[in-house]
């Protein structure tokens, strides 16, 4: 199973061979996108659903005066909203941050998939509900947390999301963002992002080398940022773990 979407959905429910194959079959239309290249631009007519297979991308909105806010990250396995084709135009852009591979799934294929496989439908809805929950948490992040907490929270979220698709290395993951992009994500200036990163390193919570983020002390980072993973709704994998524990003790 090298399709990250399948790995992601396995956090919600078990999928049959047939269902997995059906999804795989829909991910044949793959495009490579360079770093800092737009996948879809604000104002474009909405096309098919996009699935990030490899790389790193983001949703962002640009204000008329040039200020830019990144409103979501895409890690491999993330879909842009399943029903975008209902809307006429994109109200935001999607851009690659690292070089990426992106599959386009046609509306027809989405509808056919969901019509044929009820389990899959539920699993796909789950993934979009999680995406919405993340958006809400980001509002909390910029609205209530200070710079240090914000950044810590973002790093916790990233690690959990990479874990969910098996793309972490223990407590490390790739972080292909520049400090300016981090600033545009967190609603801070790039100078202050720099200061804040230094503070997180000074407190021995993280290290950064090159494009790799390593979390030194996840527990402490979670406490600092008041991180609560419930909003990621990784219930099934949690249950699996509990089941394994029960089997072990019972």
């Amino acid at each position: 199973m090298n399709n990250p979407l399948l790995r992601k959905l396995s956090n919600f429910t078990a999928l049959s061979e047939e269902e997995s194959a059906a999804i795989d079959e829909c991910c044949k239309d793959v495009r490579e996108v360079g770093a800092r290249e737009d996948v879809i631009a604000q104002g474009d007519r909405t096309g098919g659903v996009k699935l990030l297979l490899e790389g790193f991308a983001c949703r962002y909105k640009t204000l008329e005066d040039g200020r830019r806010q990144i409103v979501a990250y895409f890690v491999p396995g993330d879909l842009c909203d399943l029903r975008v084709f209902i809307l006429k135009r994109m109200d935001h852009s999607i851009g690659a941050i690292a070089p990426s591979k992106i599959a386009t799934i046609s509306p027809d294929n989405v509808l056919r998939l969901m019509h044929t496989y009820p389990t899959l439908t539920t699993a796909l809805w789950w993934s979009t509900l999680v995406e919405e929950a993340i958006a809400r948490e980001w509002i909390v992040n910029v609205g209530q947390r200070n710079a240090l907490e914000r950044m810590a929270h973002l790093f916790c979220e990233l690690l959990y999301r990479y874990r969910a698709v098996g793309l972490n290395q223990d407590l490390s993951c790739t972080l292909p963002l520049t400090q300016v992009e981090l600033a545009e994500t967190l609603g801070l200036s790039s100078v202050h992002v720099n200061r804040t990163l230094q503070e997180l390193r000074r407190q021995q919570l993280i290290t950064l080398n090159g494009r790799t983020l390593t979390i030194q002390n996840l527990r402490a980072l979670e406490e600092l940022s008041l991180f609560n993973a419930e909003y990621l709704h990784l219930d099934y994998s949690a249950e699996k773990h509990r089941d394994v524990e029960r089997e072990g003790t019972g």
Copy 2:
């Protein structure tokens, strides 16, 4: 048509008598909720879909240390997410701000509605896509705009949303929020909300009496806040207007 959901959906597409009746039929289970009363609390098991018929409500998240962030408003006609029942637990709360009437639609009814009426399905998906777009815009709001712009933007959004369900009076609408709640929405302190409201009044952009917000100069308020209504995706009603214009001139 006194069901505000129907008025709202009419911004996206025309609905038949039968479709309208089918929705009405699903909104029989109505509950009255007092001001500042929770409808659903964080951690609750997810039940049916909620529809606000009258009043004003919000989604909010509370951090462990007590900080609270309001992440969405509900005006009449707004649904809480159509597929919540897929998730096990609520990761946030929904609370009434003004005394409200709330209909609960069972998962069965949602699924049946969507199975029977394709047009309705699309219209309902549209409404949830708009909800997500609003959440993204709120991230931009707290991330990029300063206090004055933030509040101006919020007021513009509220007016457009009230208009979409015909509950505005020209440039006025109800604003049942306290300054503390506004602060929790905008990621500001209540003191600064007070200062900012005064500044908006000083610039003759708005007036407030009692629970009524009146926008004195919508154009200026939109320019100040870099407001762009596209994210509300009120396409169909815009098209209707264009059609009327064409009919008039052609």
